[in-house]
Structure formats: C-alpha cells, structure tokens
Symmetry: C2
Subunit: 331 residues, 2 copies
C-alpha cells in the first residue's frame, strides 16, 4: 500500500495548471485516490492546457478557467484546501527570452500570489511547487544534486528561482508546508505535442505519428527523462510525507542518454517506423542551452521512498499508444 493511500481520500485539493501536462495527470490520479479536486488553468494557447487531457473525467472534476495572476480569484480557489499543487508554468526557454515579463509574472508573481492566498485562507495546507532543473544553468558537475550552484541561463531560470525562493521563504517565515520539486525533462501522455514549446519530445512524437522525420538539435547532449506517472507519484509523496516539507528536491528519472539515443529509442517504441535528421542548434537556442544534465535525486528517494517505476522504453511506448489513439485532439 502506498504511504499516502489514505491521505488524499476526501481531501479538497487544488491543482493549478491542472489542464496541462503534469497537472492533468496529477488531477486524474488524485480523483482515483478519492480527493475532491479543483483544477484551475488559464488555457493560454501557448502553454499546455487542453481539455482533451481530462476527456471523460470532466464530471469528477471542478474546473475553473482562470489565470493565477488574477489574484482576486485565488482566495476562493484555495479556501478549505488541504493540498495545493502548483503545476502552472511557462516552461519555454526561448519563449521566456522573447516575452520575459510574461515569464516572470507566470513563474514568480503568480506563485507568490498563490502563497499569499494559502497563508490567508488555508495556512495548514501543503503546497507542492513544480520547479525545474533549468535554474542550475549549465552543470558544473554531474549528476547535479541540490547543492549545485544556481546559475540560470535564461529568464525562465531566473523567474523559477524566484518562485522557489518565495516557497522557501514562506516556509521559514510563516511555517507554510511547502515542497519544491526540481523536475527534469518530463514526458508522457497529455504533454503538448503540437510544437516544441513544452518539450522537444512532444514534437518528435507528433512527427513520428504523422509519418514525418523529426529534427534532433545537436544530439550529443546527455539528458535524463522522467515519465509523467513517476513525477505524479513524486508530487503526491512530496505532499504526503512531512519530512519533505520546507525542502527542495531534484526529481530525475531514467538513466541519462544522448538525444540521438533517445531519438532511436523513440523510433524503436514506434515499431521501428520513423527517422530523424541531426541539425545545428539555432543561434537563439544555443545561447541559452545548458548542455548535459542529469539529476542526483537520492535526497528525495531517501526522504520519501520514491523511485521511478517506468523505464524509458515502456514510457515511450505508452506515450505513442496514447497519442496514436488521441492524435487529433493534440494538433
């Protein structure tokens, strides 16, 4: 039995960004566990929110389409909540350079507003904040643990670092039960595949399923990949295990591999169908690329007992099966 089996039953839970990739997978898992789940999502067309992500489960979810920056909405949304999962984010690195203020608002100001609402309305709630390995910048050593210096290389990293800072601060000053998860590249059903805005794997899957070749930029970069169900499990444990509160954790995944190996694994998961071309990095992307990254997530494993359960081949196969069955809803 999961350590959190009884934790979420009957609990009021808010999932911000709950129509998006990780948020929707988390919301669906929470209703399986018996939680009363409210989703808030801006449905900004540039990001991951998509009603297809909860298709068939709408009756079991309370869905509010609102922007977290609309702070008047927040007190009502968090009132009575025992858990708040903030998975609402602007994740695009190039996008963050093109629209920097927007990135700061979504990734730092909105989380701060949400913390203020929690402090006022439900100060005993646990707040789990979905952060990113992007705040480390280019790794100085590998694997990257939580003591690695933070040298963000794009606006997204600076904004998320501030978002984290507010969570740490509200724990220290006000005693809020916050937990911060620095996620690596996450993939799986319900990610955005229309383009590469959320993750490059999204557009790879789309191309493969449409019978087109995809592009691999660079190709030698080593990355770890986390399957979304494992990330959802991590978020639930971060909420349920008191020893995780007030802390910052890396969440990694499969052993690192090069993007070329990942591209080959993607084609293998598609029954060997597909192909790719290796391209030079575009200039505006190269200037903010972080190179190789993989996480040391032993702190989280030790603290919560978590470990990833889905290997890369399985995860890719499940992803392809999901999008093959639902492709039209994601284009």
């Amino acid at each position: 039995m999961k350590p959190y089996a009884a934790t979420f039953g009957g609990a009021k839970v808010l999932v911000a960004g709950g129509l998006g990739f990780i948020g929707s997978n988390l919301a669906l898992r929470l209703i399986e566990l018996g939680a009363r789940v409210t989703i808030v999502d801006s449905l900004d067309p540039d990001y991951g929110g998509n009603f297809a992500n909860i298709a068939g489960d709408e009756p079991r979810l309370d869905v509010v389409v609102a922007d977290l920056r609309d702070r008047e909405r927040l007190p009502e949304l968090v009132s009575g909540c025992r858990y708040v999962f903030n998975m609402a984010a602007q994740t695009g690195h190039v996008d963050s350079m093109r629209r920097p203020i927007n990135d700061l608002e979504i990734n730092a100001a909105a989380p701060l507003m949400l913390l203020e609402a929690v402090r006022a309305e439900c100060p005993d709630a646990v707040v789990v904040y979905g952060s990113t390995r992007q705040i480390y910048g280019r790794p100085e050593y590998l694997p990257v643990d939580e003591r690695h210096p933070l040298h963000p290389v794009d606006v997204n990293g600076v904004s998320k670092q501030a978002g984290e800072g507010f969570h740490t601060l509200y724990h220290q000053v006000y005693g809020l039960k916050t937990a911060i998860l620095r996620l690596t590249n996450t993939y799986g059903p319900r990610m955005r595949i229309r383009d590469a805005r959320q993750t490059f794997i999204g557009i790879w899957l789309r191309r493969v399923l449409e019978g087109d070749r995809f592009e691999v930029w660079g190709g030698q970069q080593q990355r770890d990949l986390a399957y979304v169900d494992d990330v959802v499990e991590a978020a639930l444990l971060a909420a349920a295990v008191p020893a995780a509160h007030g802390r910052v954790f890396n969440i990694g995944g499969a052993p690192p591999l090069s993007l070329i190996d990942l591209a080959n694994a993607t084609i293998a998961a598609n029954g060997g169908q597909g192909g790719f071309d290796i391209k030079e990095f575009p200039a505006e992307r190269k200037s903010i690329d972080i190179g190789d990254y993989w996480a040391d997530d032993n702190l989280f494993r030790r603290t919560t007992g978590w470990s990833p359960a889905v290997d890369l081949a399985t995860g890719l196969k499940r992803s392809i099966d999901y999008y093959r069955a639902n492709l039209a809803r994601y284009l």
Copy 2:
C-alpha cells in the same frame, strides 16, 4: 584626476529613482561632471523620492515623474543613453512582507523592463544596478564576500536576487554592459528620515534633530555603514571601468560597529545632544532580521581603485548639518 573625469561629460544619462536618496546624490554629481541627466522617479509616497533632494538644481535636470512599471514610457527614457543607473527600489524589509507583489514588481519586473528597453534602444549603454546585501540573508561568515551563498530571508531579498539575475543574464546572453552593486546600509544627506522605511538611521537623525529620544532595536548587531558620496563614487566607477561590467560587487563602508556604538556616534555628531532607548525587536521584524553583517568589498576596490573616503564621524556630522538646514522639507 578621477579615472572617469572625461567619461560623463556631455553623455546622456538616465538615473532611475533619481529623486530618491542615492539616485538624487548621483544625479547631482553627474551634472557636476557635465552629464546630461534625465531623472525618472515614481514619487511613490512610501519610498524615497522627494523634490527637496534636487532643490535649486531643477533647471539642470530633466525630471520625468513616471513608474518604471509603466513600460511604454521606457524606450523614450533610455533612447540615446550611454549610462543608465537604476537606483529605483522598494527597500523596506517589513514592507516587502506586507506587500510582496509590489516588491516583486518594483525590484524584479521593473528592472527587467528597463533591461529590455536598453537592449532595444541603447544596447551599448552601461547599466548599473543598485542591489542589496539583503540577498545574502543571515551571514554564514564575516566579512561577507561575493561568493557567500544567497539565502534571502524576506521577499525583498528574493525579488532583488531576481533583479540581479536578469542583469547577469542580459550581460551573458546579449552582451549588455551591466554592473551590480550590493550595497550595505547607506546613509547621508537626502535619505528619507520621516520614518524607518528606508533606513533606521533616517528616523534616528530626525529624532535627534527634533530633540526626541530614538529607539535602538536590539543594539548588539554589527553593521558597516556606507556614506552616500562613497556609494555615488562606486556607482560612477562601476559605470566607467570596463573591467567592472558583467560583474557583481559588494560595496561596504566604514569598519563595522554595533548599533549601540552607532547610536552613540550619532549623538556625538550632534554635539552630544540626544539620547536613545534600547528596545526588543518587534516580532515581525525579528523573523526577517539578518543579524551581523559587514562586507568584504576588496573585489570592487581591486577592480576599480575605489575606496571609501568619508569616515563615520564626518558622514554623520554632514548628515546632521544637512537635515538641520533642511528639516522641514523631509518631514
């Protein structure tokens, strides 16, 4: 001759926060050096902006009352500038906890907007950003050098850290000539003395000049103090010395002393007139207090040749003389 003597003559310069404490002292020094100075200041009544700070010099300054958050105004303000000094800030620590979004907007979003405007309009300009030792949080060792970890203990520290991060980033990605100065407690003519919002020394001076006793909270904390003319000199050098661009520097000042010793020095500077009472820290302030702090500023001294020129007794005496002559304009 100062190394920057010829640098500023005839140059168009923007001083953001230029009606405030450090900003106005800087603007006045720049017009002495022959610069064409535009001041932009929001004149928010909670902060340091005060027309008294430029009394008599209005004809030599171009003053624009505007909030940097009003981003449509920024391109025109920075157009043609060779130097941009951003001394516009929300500096109150307790205020930052009471109005956290406001702090983030002023200390992170507005500087980001200003950087965007510089990038578009005057990418060769030097941008000097007035930051704060607050981002270090409670020192782990003393004196604090620039390698000290950043663990802000209030919203102000998190916001200013993000403000810094954007300057570093815009240097690395776009090649902007930014320089960041982490200032310690600064005092001198033109600071806000109406209350303790800008610095506790302000209210001490007011009380002393009004013949009232002032309060010292705690009293054993050790702090270094920088006289404003020395900080102005540091800002000019940070702009003028290319080796300072793209970097972060502590700016310290007089040797550290306890607040009780500082209180006694303040009374001595007032001809021995005045008295104070030692009080317990108020709870909301204690939770975010950083304890002892003094800066190791050798990096900046080595890089630019700067050293503080005004000792504490002289600086306090000048401050008292200034406010004795101008008290009514600062109440």
